[in-house]
Subunit: 426 residues, 4 copies
Amino acid sequence: MDYTDRETLVDLRRTLHRVPEPAWCEFQTTARVVEACEDIGVDELHVGPDVVDSDARMAVPDDETLAEWIERAREAGVDESLLEQMAGGHTGAVAVLERGEGPTVGLRVDIDALHITESDEADHHPAGEGFRSEHEGCMHACGHDGHATIGVGVLAAVADSDFQGTLKVVFQPAEERVGGGKAVAESGHLDDIDYLYAVHLGLDHPTGEVVAGVGGFLAVSHLLAEFEGAGAHAGAHPEQGRNAVQAMATAVQNLYAIPRHDDGATRVNAGRAGGGTATNIIPEDAFVEGEVRGETTELMEYMKEKADRVVRSAAEMHECTVETHTEGEAPSAESDEALAAAFAAVADDHAGVDTVLDHDALGGSEDATYLMQRVQNTGGLACYVCVGTDHPGGHHTPTFDVDEDSLDIGVDALTDAIRGVAADRP
Amino acid sequence: MDYTDRETLVDLRRTLHRVPEPAWCEFQTTARVVEACEDIGVDELHVGPDVVDSDARMAVPDDETLAEWIERAREAGVDESLLEQMAGGHTGAVAVLERGEGPTVGLRVDIDALHITESDEADHHPAGEGFRSEHEGCMHACGHDGHATIGVGVLAAVADSDFQGTLKVVFQPAEERVGGGKAVAESGHLDDIDYLYAVHLGLDHPTGEVVAGVGGFLAVSHLLAEFEGAGAHAGAHPEQGRNAVQAMATAVQNLYAIPRHDDGATRVNAGRAGGGTATNIIPEDAFVEGEVRGETTELMEYMKEKADRVVRSAAEMHECTVETHTEGEAPSAESDEALAAAFAAVADDHAGVDTVLDHDALGGSEDATYLMQRVQNTGGLACYVCVGTDHPGGHHTPTFDVDEDSLDIGVDALTDAIRGVAADRP
Amino acid sequence: MDYTDRETLVDLRRTLHRVPEPAWCEFQTTARVVEACEDIGVDELHVGPDVVDSDARMAVPDDETLAEWIERAREAGVDESLLEQMAGGHTGAVAVLERGEGPTVGLRVDIDALHITESDEADHHPAGEGFRSEHEGCMHACGHDGHATIGVGVLAAVADSDFQGTLKVVFQPAEERVGGGKAVAESGHLDDIDYLYAVHLGLDHPTGEVVAGVGGFLAVSHLLAEFEGAGAHAGAHPEQGRNAVQAMATAVQNLYAIPRHDDGATRVNAGRAGGGTATNIIPEDAFVEGEVRGETTELMEYMKEKADRVVRSAAEMHECTVETHTEGEAPSAESDEALAAAFAAVADDHAGVDTVLDHDALGGSEDATYLMQRVQNTGGLACYVCVGTDHPGGHHTPTFDVDEDSLDIGVDALTDAIRGVAADRP
Amino acid sequence: MDYTDRETLVDLRRTLHRVPEPAWCEFQTTARVVEACEDIGVDELHVGPDVVDSDARMAVPDDETLAEWIERAREAGVDESLLEQMAGGHTGAVAVLERGEGPTVGLRVDIDALHITESDEADHHPAGEGFRSEHEGCMHACGHDGHATIGVGVLAAVADSDFQGTLKVVFQPAEERVGGGKAVAESGHLDDIDYLYAVHLGLDHPTGEVVAGVGGFLAVSHLLAEFEGAGAHAGAHPEQGRNAVQAMATAVQNLYAIPRHDDGATRVNAGRAGGGTATNIIPEDAFVEGEVRGETTELMEYMKEKADRVVRSAAEMHECTVETHTEGEAPSAESDEALAAAFAAVADDHAGVDTVLDHDALGGSEDATYLMQRVQNTGGLACYVCVGTDHPGGHHTPTFDVDEDSLDIGVDALTDAIRGVAADRP
């Protein structure tokens, strides 16, 4: 197949859209990407545990969940030996193209989907065109099907070009849970990268608009606190309980009350909380699953430390024990101007692009920041670009969709930028 | 079948034990009880909406749940016309025996089961003997299979005796949720009852011990509060949320802090609480499901009013709406001494009984109190008796079981007591 | 002066009423009592540190407060050497009368006043008659002026009687703060007492009614928790504060939410709380002053342990330190029936008594319980009696007053009871 | 006296330093300023109610406090007719100089002091030099003695110059409580001002450094919430109380938990909180005194609305009533660049100035913003300048002091700037 062809790319995107898979369960997705890379003919192709620092993965689902998604992939015909390589949730891939002397350029795309049920209304394009999610309750509602497609498209286009140097395309799992970035950053694959681009579609920018340097990522940490107390009959022996729901409620109240910080914006959310078993039983178990954020990594760390203290003290107050886990994490980051400028220059020349913004702040979080930071810390430059796309519904909603015209723009502009920085070493 | 026969009763109890059904879903159980009543030959048999004041039912499950249990009963061969009568969760039965002039005596037994998974250990008698629950996750863990059996046994034994008067045996649904008592009490069936007995097995009394007059029921009310706020992205727009989990946490903290009362014991428990959808979304929905109790009905009402205020104010504080429902309720009650004495006298004569306690306090709640109160308010007497039974596990635990020898004791003692009060009009 | 004379006793009571003094500041009161004891001619008279176990005193005011009240006593002409003995708040006295062979009988009366401003309305008897408090803001609003007078009256009357044995009258300081009982109990003076009476006027019983055996004392513990955090400018550097008011608020919320107990009634109250310095400073200091109670001493201890945990965890949650002090404490207690019966018998014979109640429950707290417990633990009997008195205003209100007729009843009945138990050894 | 003379100004500053007076109690201060204005010979001098919109004053102390400070001023010899004009806390003054055709230029200085006890250490300059505060517990710890002096100095210097136009110097009371700005803004005196300067000494800038345009004022609102419930005996009848301390604690917990806002920084502080009367009484009264702030006035309003909701709901939850008052308030503001530039230009020429900063953010709050906003809204320009001064202790601390050399700099630079803008109309 010719992945420099627009129709092929649209087909690929729709194929991926049909089989959305959540964090660390991207078995079919990875298989399809691997197939494309082999078609294109890369020089190295990393899959399985070699893609990441396995221990640095966060938010890996339990064995039962992994088994379900593996079984689904098996039924869909994924090759058994590839499934074996990906055992334990080792999804994702790193494809390497070696084209002689020149710098090493990286492109990071993410590939996971969300636990959202896709709209089945006829005017929702994937539903109307017949490529709606076949995994009910799971959906590509953030465009990662498009990102993976762009990754493949760039790989094919660069392979087909006068590019001199090395290209690494990273197909990263588990971005939605901010669970994969750290593991990729610590894999070693980035340590020789001179220039890294990461790309996102949409973000409320229309088709034809691109942002050359996205910044303002909020550092984020997801935390899970599980309280364990002791049940007791609420009528007969209330004093024998150690009330985990009281601990949870005390924690929630005080989490939101962590002091604001003069150095910049902070956030906290007890996004999910719950506990207890029956009306007449003093609650024995409870949990809070939440997140803290900061305009800088330091501010996130400040919030995280406070949150940890709140949770521990709330447990102690109600004689419960508590276990806390970091479920996902990402630092803040900024795009390097030189790399953004290189992208802006080539994007501006593209027929489909009518507006180029030099900079925009994300105002959210994303674990590409781990990769960007890694490259920046080892002497390289990193840049996060946004390729606008008309999206009818907002990101993370059941009617989200991407305008497939933006795939071309993304592939072309990134390919040109990669060729450019390889040649000009900004 | 001869329901005055011990073996028949044990068989009946085991049959019922195999098919435990939760509140208002006792379709097979009711069918089996109806079959027995018809076998015995009662003069009136009420089933369907006629059993209760339909609108006074509490804790009725949603249509989907009802449909599942009806389907299960249909597959088990329950007669379609009976299922139609019970549509909408109208389970339970009232059987009437008319035996000439004499007072009207009532016996109330409850028939529902619990959402508990029964032990499958070999030394758990029902598992070892092959009559473990066939409805995985549902279990007769409080002896209501035995209560229903005793109801049938007493009906058969009284029918077979010199009893003069009218006997009404009430097979009440939904006691575990304190959801059925009020609906039965307001059905009209009790309004001509002169003497009412209610019976419970076990309660930590061994086989051979009976309690003639149980009292000290805590009045109870189950409440469900559902908060609705508005979601928002926790990183990008925390100010746009109206946080239902904050409302829930504020409610939980303040529910437990309702002032103690000088008139007697009170209780409060937020037994289940939860809310939210994702770590990065300001929680839009949350709930508290709990209970309040009082040593008297007035004390329970005091707690209920305070709890309602707490829940409403917590919602208002966080700009949420809240809907509150009473999911179940029961007043406090005391057994009439004259009726207890009548039972004590005959129980003491029974060969299997070695200890008769005149009085004991339950320390828990039970909606037989609605029936007792109704009878007492219309000029009758009411008494709650306990028939001890060796139970290896505690009530409401996976290893609960009853000693089947206690079924005989219950049937015999109650039959004699009913005959006695009909003759002597205490 | 003849303290067996009614007029003399009324004068004494009015003298004491004029100079109310709070806990451990009863310098003038003690001086006046000492003068009376010397007049009567006791065999031993303990004053100063010898009255109590000095270290076991609770709620002793700070040096400045002590100095103010000492100065006031000095100006009123109290003997300098007596003031020296009482230095550091060693008020109170133990008077001993030795009258040959016979049991040792004790009488405990309390002598301190309250921080209440006495009514100056003409129809408030002390105001109308000119013996209203001369210590503005301090008042005998609980009848301890009468109690001290009864102590003196009994001492004189027993001295003047055929009593055989030893009489110890304990004039106890600091009852209102439950701060003096423990220190007296541990002084050693009680260890040889065979029979102990304690007496209280009023308690909503009218003149002519007495209660022979008061019980139902709630065990109580007063706690003071002082939080210390760190201030910071609330606008410029909120993150630099460690917020003591947040710690206090978290503590208050969770104190009231300590679980109820199946063994009986408990109480908790954060009666005073506060903190902070200015609207724009993160609060650096805060406190909670409160109490816990229990129907039994064990229940009070349960509450105290929970309260301590709440306070410590609340401090930890907000990175504050906390110091907690027990400001006062008293166990629960019951009167011995034999001793109550002895009192009831003689009281019933008294012309001024028309009703004798065998028993009544206090429903409050009082640290005579420490003394009662001490005597009971060392093999003696103890009994708390109430001598009714018409009191226009409630206890602890600005219009409280005692009917001086009840002083006679108290002196006579107690004298007869003491003579009786010495003779009959019940 | 010649107020263009440096020694005279230093004397004036020291005189004012000796008699610090809090918000709306600046009776001696105003009298001294009035004397100076009369000496200089102004064309109009407004004192008393004419200075402000009387009803728009915030944080006016109670009559008793006003009376104390008036009495103190009377004893210090302040003229009785002036005191009468200032009755009810109508302090401050507006002095007007008319010098022919030209724009109207305003200068705002604030004159109140703080409730801080001034250091008496010899190395604290005012203590060492003998002009330490004579009003123990009150102190000019924020340099307003210097501000008032600069106001007088500029008035004298402009009067003595070639200035063409009208100059209004506003001596504003009650800045420390953000209580006076609004009342001055709504007085009408500002409505014809074309150019307004406000000035502050120090702010961590050393002598020789000036900031031409201060901005970044946080909008602020001080709130006082007073809860009233019902007392009850905590042992005997806890259920009869309506607990104001519980309401307060619930409010505090939820105030700090008001959601952060995406539009910018917000702040909240429950700076003072308290309540209750005695350990054994359910608390009947409580209060929270605090503040909210926002990077913009809208953000402050957002916080204020939320805070109000929290306080009302907390009261309702515990069946208390609550009264809330706004005790002080100020919007955010920015300095106009043109006016800042005019000041920067002349300041740069001054021999004593070595550094001129165009802009700095205050990061705190100040009610000059009301005046700035008023002038800006009526078509004028406004600018807040900072004149650096070496200050040994921080603002609002007992060792704060100003370097008197900075008085000259302030007077000279402001005089030149005022002359400049009058001539050049930027």
